[in-house]
Symmetry: D2
Subunit: 337 residues, 4 copies
């Protein structure tokens, strides 16, 4: 039984709390900490069986009974709390991204060198039933050698202006998941990135210096070509698909829906829209990723998504930004790290 | 908060335990009773947070703190324990069927007359996301007046000979769910049933006096025609579909799969088989039905599936058997009750 | 090169004219006869390359250069013209049904006994790409032994009252195609039929003594159970599906559409309705069936659909009517022939 | 009635012959010319009703009865024969591409200036039922403003080394259709092209200086981003899909198959592969495009695909080649014309 503390009781902190309480039998939550811990949240946590709360996450780091922490706080705190947690000898599950600043990620990488601490980054989509099944088809040799990888990733609505301002921009906030997906499906790293992007959804996003629509072409180290298409707003909901094409064939996913019901009327043959909200769409993957983290601790194995897997998509995001700025393909090797 | 006791710690008893512990926030399980309670089960229950176990369900019935019981014991005990629980003033969730003996069901109906006790029968499929979405389309008027209802219900493999012997036969054991589904989708009762059946899956089933394949035509009281097709064995897994056709169109479901992955190779374009195991396929519906039961207690409303809804599919099963024996359409009014 | 004459220049006569002119390279049409031959039709025929027209089909029967005739006249003339054509030594392609009167069909059967004349009946759906592919899967052993056959056949709109009056009723006019489909897919004859029917689409149909909605259960001679569901009006168009379920699996078709385009918007994910008009839906099958007829003549082989295949669905239709009248399952052996 | 001559009796010449004979009622073929006209082809043409053949296409150009010619000869003759035909006053349907040499295309453009001659280029896919339906959805405003266009175009097998040598390379031979599709779906021209390409299918293609796999990103003049993914070999057949995503939603097509049959067995749920051969897949579009050409002549309207539409995809192909060579995004305005 692994004893965990959760740092951050916002949306994603609650998701992980629920996952552990409901599905992860070999873990128990001893404490949840959040500087803005509300009475309502405390009550909810009690109902979930979490006895202890705090406004100071150091209480978690200082508790010798706690084996592992989940860092679910705001993005700009991820790397620092990671460093503190590693120093305190805690295993760490860190929400993505570790940091937007490569130097900070580097510190975390260094801190983990030679250590027996387990570190996992929260790229949950790898654990999604659909994407995991595509990966399995690839690994099982069903599609032969990989030639083309396509990832469609479109949000149901753009972020608020406030969020966009601190998010690091679309490539580091949203596409970062797709960069990880491309690495996951290809089974190797990216070599070069080219971005064609535009502001088509909301001029305010452009005014804030970001883009909202992009097609990103990536040359992978194994020779395959990956392409991601992003939009900050799909009118029909959250569009999350992938397709891997190779010498023997293709594995492709479609979107998940609330039900399989199809209505045939004089207006057409209509099925449901994709699940709209990312927490609903990816609920299962959040539970699975945390279960894998706990299992890695229990069995003393590597986590499925280590600190380097957290670093690489950030590098890709920075390369993507550079591609937009300089309007040319950018090699990953150009990004100083 | 509703305090419940669970009678029976077999497969379905465990499913309900898990559902309540994980999803039903307004209920807690005080005790689980089973005459064959094993150490392993006790340990599992502890892990789920259930403190008390017993080999005698009377401990549950006699506990004044327990508001409601879930009867998950073997079929032949359902009606008697229902009667005892009602006498003890407990609300009752009873797994299907209440009994194969109409006289016993009648006793339960009588015991509930004029009582304020909530009684719900475990026809879980009404709560399944797909079938509930079909029902919603019907209720919302999307298909107009209902003309034809089709239910396909095929098991992935036939029951053991031992189980078949005590199950009451295919119509009372398996089709009973489809009889309920037809009533649910039609929003009314059956008037007449005709069965064309055969032994095509396993001759041993025929030797035991049962059938394993059937097409059942039902005239509903609202004039619609329903048809159920059953097989005890679909090579591709658990086939669970429904289609409602009416004056304005059709609402239809397809099977659920583990993922949406489709593999295109020189051998064809292949998706996953339907989910094989009923607990996996209907997991969500089991949680939802128990949540509805607890809500009905808390809010003092009718349960969505009362004792009469438990009775009617048994009547239909008996009419179906009579149709096979006498090789003719049988009116529900012919069945003595 | 087979020289043919076409008797009847109505809708179906024109379809066959077009098929032969466009697709059937080993046949040429020498003459088309129709008592109501219009100038417009004559002009259209000229455009198709048909030089000769007549108001009297005997001109065709008496022309020694004509090898074969296609009988596309009104239903009540099919058997008599068949008899005349056989007497004239012409090969015959006869639109379904040969007759509603079994005695008349019997005369045609007798006339063909010992003769070398090719006779084919126009159950075109056997030649449809979808249904032929289901049949192929069955014949190739892909589904093992057949257990259940399901045919959904729903028209986009009911016939006019005038047509219904002379059509012989739904079972002989519309379901007759489905009776043939069931025989085709099962590879054997029907043994017993039970009908549950209703008037739900149009009361006028009921007043005319017919039904417009039916579920028909058929026991096949090989032990399989077939079920047909019919409606005279599907709001979403022409619904034509089949499903064969057996010991090793299931082969099923879906409807054809004008394109595969799917539109995803905030209103849902919507594909096209089934092709509405039977001539559009079955265009390919009409060409294929006539090609097979011509090939049978050229190669001196049996036609794929002989006079007995024309008889059997009529027997089934009569049994179905009897089942409605007497409200019981009716054996095919009860129908005097 | 438009009288046409067909120049070239190879594969595509025969397709157009068949289309006109079978479907285009307002045209008749007077002559087919081919320097390698074989007896077999002459016989086939007779069977189709084409009386005159020649080994010299000038016979067609010099025939005053012939209104229009279809140029179906080898690619390197297209522009010269176009010029001759225009000089002879014939309307011209020219197979794609007009030429690989922009100067030659320019000559054709000039020759048509101020002339009343109808000129159409054979980008047949615009007339395909699926792609035309996507276009219609766009034009009807169903998806709002266009943001992203995706075209998947993968051949079932690579061309022979001989063909590849004279084809102009993948971008001018194969992708040229997709360049046209992108222009068609966007309703505007391309502004800039970036190609990421590779040799993954066959090293011999690389040795010949060409590529066999590519992802091509295109900035369109209306601000939309288009992306084409190409492979010379899809193991599952001819993969031809498009998707247009915009402010109000998405319109997408899937591949056409020979039937809709789906087989469910213990091995999975398997549908048919895409139609393998381009003539089979696009048969309908070939007939429709020629019909439109003839109609434009009869009604004296513009053809749907003029000489400029023939030019632009060649410009795009040349820009694509330059992007590969210089490994950077290339503006269309950089291509000298």
């Amino acid at each position: 039984m692994v004893t965990v503390g959760i740092i951050g009781a916002g949306r994603i902190g609650k998701v992980h709390t629920e996952s552990i309480c409901n599905y992860v039998r070999n873990a128990k939550i001893k404490m949840v900490a959040d500087p803005f811990m509300s009475e309502e949240t405390e009550k909810w946590l009690k109902g979930m069986g979490v006895a202890n709360t705090s406004k100071d996450y150091h209480e978690i780091l200082n508790d010798p009974e706690i084996d592992a922490v989940l860092i679910c706080s705001s993005t700009n705190t991820h790397s620092n709390i990671s460093l503190e947690a590693i120093a305190a000898g805690k295993h760490v599950f860190c929400e993505k991204p570790i940091d937007h600043d490569l130097a900070k990620i580097k510190e975390v990488v260094k801190a983990l060198e030679g250590s027996s601490i387990k570190y996992q980054v929260g790229f949950n989509r790898r654990f999604d039933h659909n994407f995991a099944a595509v990966k399995k088809a690839v690994v099982d040799g069903k599609i032969g050698e990989t030639h083309i990888i396509k990832v469609t990733s479109r949000d149901p609505e753009p972020p608020s202006a406030e969020y966009a301002a601190v998010s690091g921009g679309m490539f580091l906030d949203m596409t970062i998941h797709d960069f990880d997906m491309v690495r996951f499906l290809a089974g190797c790293d990216a070599e070069e990135i080219y971005v064609q992007s535009a502001v088509l959804v909301d001029p305010a996003i452009g005014e804030a210096g970001d883009v909202d629509t992009a097609v990103i072409t990536i040359k992978m180290e194994n020779g395959a070509i990956a392409v991601i298409d992003n939009s900050r707003r799909a009118a029909y909901g959250y569009d999350q698909r992938a397709e891997v094409f190779g010498s023997k064939g293709m594995a492709a996913t479609s979107n998940d829906t609330a039900s399989s019901v199809v209505l045939s009327t004089q207006d057409g043959v209509t099925g449901e829209k994709p699940l709209y909200f990312f927490l609903e769409r990816y609920m299962q993957s959040f539970a699975t990723e945390v279960g894998c983290f706990i299992d890695a601790i229990e069995n003393d194995t590597d986590t499925p998504l280590g600190v380097v897997d957290g670093l690489k998509p950030v590098l890709m995001g920075i390369a993507a930004k550079k591609s937009v700025e300089e309007h040319r393909p950018v090699k990953l090797s150009e990004i100083q790290y």
